[in-house]
Symmetry: C2
Subunit: 694 residues, 2 copies
Amino acid sequence: MSFNNNVATKFPNLKPRGPGGEALLNAERAKTSFDIKELSKFMYTEEWLIKMNNVLQVISNEPAFDKSNRYYQSRTDKIATGLWKDKRMIELAREHMWDEQDTRLANFLYDQSTPFSLHYGMFIPTLMSQTTNEQKKLFLEPALKHKIIGCYAQTELGHGSNVQGLETTATYIPETNEFEIHSPTLTASKWWIGGLGKAANHAIVMARLITDGKDLGPHPFCVQIRSLEDHRPLHGITVGDIGPKFGFNATDNGFIMFDHYRVPHVSFLAKYSQVKPSTGEYSKPPNAKLSYGTMVYVRANIVMGVRYALAKATTIAIRYSTIRQQFVDAANPKKWDNQVIETPVLDYTMQQYRLLPIVASAYACFFTGREMLRLYDLNQEAMQQGNFNLLADLHASSSGLKSLTTTMAVESIEECRRACGGHGYSNFSGLGQFYQDYLPNVTWEGDNYILTQQTARYLLKTFRNVVAGKAEPSEYNQTITYLTQYLENPTSKCPATKPTDFLNPELILSAFGFRAAFGIAKLAEQIDRHGRTWNSMLVEISRISKAHCQFMLVRNFVVTLQNDPSLSTPQFKPIVNVLKTLAYLFALHTMEKELSEFLLSGYLSPEQSAMLKEQVISLLEQVRPQAVGLVDAFALPDYYLHSALGRYDGRVYESMTKMAEAEPLNHTLVVDGYEEYIKPFIHQNKDKTAPSKL
Amino acid sequence: MSFNNNVATKFPNLKPRGPGGEALLNAERAKTSFDIKELSKFMYTEEWLIKMNNVLQVISNEPAFDKSNRYYQSRTDKIATGLWKDKRMIELAREHMWDEQDTRLANFLYDQSTPFSLHYGMFIPTLMSQTTNEQKKLFLEPALKHKIIGCYAQTELGHGSNVQGLETTATYIPETNEFEIHSPTLTASKWWIGGLGKAANHAIVMARLITDGKDLGPHPFCVQIRSLEDHRPLHGITVGDIGPKFGFNATDNGFIMFDHYRVPHVSFLAKYSQVKPSTGEYSKPPNAKLSYGTMVYVRANIVMGVRYALAKATTIAIRYSTIRQQFVDAANPKKWDNQVIETPVLDYTMQQYRLLPIVASAYACFFTGREMLRLYDLNQEAMQQGNFNLLADLHASSSGLKSLTTTMAVESIEECRRACGGHGYSNFSGLGQFYQDYLPNVTWEGDNYILTQQTARYLLKTFRNVVAGKAEPSEYNQTITYLTQYLENPTSKCPATKPTDFLNPELILSAFGFRAAFGIAKLAEQIDRHGRTWNSMLVEISRISKAHCQFMLVRNFVVTLQNDPSLSTPQFKPIVNVLKTLAYLFALHTMEKELSEFLLSGYLSPEQSAMLKEQVISLLEQVRPQAVGLVDAFALPDYYLHSALGRYDGRVYESMTKMAEAEPLNHTLVVDGYEEYIKPFIHQNKDKTAPSKL
């Protein structure tokens, strides 16, 4: 018998050694102390889970949504596949009468940005919020019907975060009642614009409005860029794709340059500011404060998105870590059917230390995202009644939380990938491309470093107000509360005398509040008393933003578990118990990671630090048997994960070999290039009459 | 005038705004306080630089070595291009009578692993070291002439670091004097084997030797796997490519399974152990200690390689950070030709804090790599005289240093990529694919987590010896020295009373030695007195390995600058001055990063920590004007960097647009898929008789 049937890529019909992934995972599931499905329902609601399942049924049978080629495609293939999916999505939404949530779910499950993504994500929302009624008819209506496809062109080759530095101009020409859009230099080229490279025929262009000789800074214009007849770029426009990227390669991020390109007066999006026809007179937009509310909403959703990212990464890494075995732990050998087997890597403390705090942080982001959405609603109501009291704190926290949690996410995804050992490096892990695609989150919606400065500015201002007696603690402003507590007792000490003392919500919140306040006070001292410049303090500035946001994450996790009425019923007890352990792990592991700050503030002593570390290891041990249950509760379907390592059924090795069989290089038995590049050496003496020297 | 000439990808002939990259970089170079070329010569020798330049001249004119397609190629294209380069490399070496160093330089500059890489990297070296004379004639000689192409097949689908767990068997068959190689399960499939997927026709296969019913564990066999006639896999073998990976996609990492595959007796590599023909009697290999020397050598070279990786990443990030401008720093506005321009991002403390310590660590790795090679030579000499005194310390340090420095490298490359802002995400940065390709370094030649256990085992053993009075300090064993010092005074304190006190080599070495010894002592206490298991202490175990190796890195940097005679001449003074500042930055920044350990050991007080932080910021300020000079001194040619952001001439934006023009998607004006997927929506009402509703 032979298994070489001249198809190089057909693996023999053999099993993996040992118990196999399915049996190992099922044994893990049997250990779970709580009802996994109930926990899923608590996080998502049953309704959402049913909706997801319905959408999944539809798209998993759609060739346009098939993922089996995803890891083998060239850039050009990816774009074409992306366009196919975009078209089919529109049709499916009609066929199945999908509402907005269904469509969002389909996109979530497909999990790859495509050429039309920014049409929905930026073009339509901008047209909704910044246009007059006339403009809605002209641009928004056809956009909703896909008669025009758009994108959002702000960033330039030489200009990113500093919007005021944009170079593209839009000069009002009173004679013809037009604007002339122009790119004066190479660095003025719009760059990175999703959907612009090949797909869009319209763009919102951010350009400096110049009228009556005055430069009024960047304003939005809706501009046609490609022909609606044949899709060719219009005269005066140079447009294309910016080339391959680290990730996001199914999206056609593009560039565009304008050469004295004229657009009609109606192109200027005129809901908030206007340019009067013929005179060119400019009227300013009203107070921008209201738009801060929207930013809070977007960032709350990013934090909720971090939860999915962490959930995906840990689902793969945790499941695989219970299946992957390495060495026999001599002190505690693992047995299966009375035979010693190699130890599953999740039984090693180091692997637990790397992965279980990430599981905990996924839950932390869930609770904080939920709280942010609740406060967003509260604030919107308040603002409509003219009350802007909540806004500053909410906006500052949301900036810092976006920065902190997305940075946590990219680092955690990569940590999960590496924790999968060698196979984490295979694209079949599902983690490599995921890391690459997720990365832009640290840059867009506010660069993560720059955002920390916004948060820090607010924290300093609040500190000065508290010192001056101009701010009162309130339920809605935890910043004032912890700053006030700190100022009342700036030498307070952690009361812990044994490791288990750290399992105390009050102690934890005091510690995080004290450490944040200490950093803010020190920074204020440096700037206000010692005259240090902002620039020279940027490192400390990023630290206080992080300290504040870690306080928020810990607080939202711990306090919700204490107070949420939906968790207080008896049948939720096992769930609450395991979530509390997770909350402690999240808090104490974070404390250990940032230990130097807790020590420097004088709150924690070296002896207490040793107890803290001991408690962290003990919590890892407690969470370990729940690990598979906790990631199962994220309820992420295999279609979404698209990972050989993270499958629900644990058939890791069968899946790896199946995916290897599909590698295009394996479609031929002898590699292209053999005749030209290999054979001449192998056969080097064959064509000579002299005998071989060998 | 219009610049739309119907070729979408042709950018107009415009300049970037402002001074331009070339002028900015030249201004930086003018600020350099030392002779850049002299520093390059010190690191590389003049001879090496000339050699590099000669090789560069050759390959930069070779189409097979052209990099201009590198960022656009599909996987299949990459393999074919790789084979082309492999072939041409062999020819060039002959044509130009290249020695081994020239060939290494050509591969270094080409900077991409290809299908033949493992033929040179593992197949030939194994044949050199583990074969009898008969086997050298049979395998090594044709391998050197490329009549056979080989690879090294050890790792299996289910088995990585634990070599003893490999499943593939090689059973001796006395009747025919053959071995039967067999893969009993799916997890026994060899996996990840570079060059095996499509190129190799031979493999060194690690298989469990079974003779006379006894399983003697993994041993190496040299096995033919593909036909030398037509390259088809031989009967009994299933072989192919394992599919797309996070990086390394120009290499055909492969899998192979054996179905009772027979090989002749001579296939068993018999230099160290033998199987007697017909009886099958096994004779054991001699003491394995000698091979530890080779591991030190390989790891010293990996550390030297880290230096190149850090040099490449920082050359790109530092140059671009002096060109990329963002916001105006109001407290200190940057002027150019008397005009305020946006501030180059390297002038922001945060950017300096992110990048300058990485420049310093590149130099640190250079000095440690050099010292490791020196000690390797010393040790080889000593071992030949039967003196094994150096070996244990050298081997333990080299394990930990490989782990620490390659982890530093991957984190630093990614930090540099992110520090390039949005454009760091473009493949044109040269940093994305570089990160992906570099990553396997943390796994191969010893998994970085597992290696720390080797180092820690040695540190614990040495500690116990020092406590028992069984180890004396010596020049060649710094571990014993710092442990002895610690035990003499376990409550010693840092003497610093002001920030500049930290600029003191003795203080720095005492601090790092104390902190390492403290961690080792605490770990010994936990294990020896409190009976904690090895597994439960893995987190602390990795910490002491890191602490020890950070001591070594700091020591090799600081001590060499004090003692190296080649640096003591007056004309080297400016170079030594700047290197000393770098050494301090490296040491103090590392101390700050690991601050909690210095605090926990009781060596540093919170007040001193504040001084330390102040000193780090002050060192950043001092290094800032030297930054471009320090990366220029790495002497990495543009061909090697292949980065739009890191070019020597600073023409960043011109290069970005030129590379975008070459994107294959831009070769057509209208995207493939327009007719099918976009047009139907745009023209949706055109074919109807009813008038448009718009």
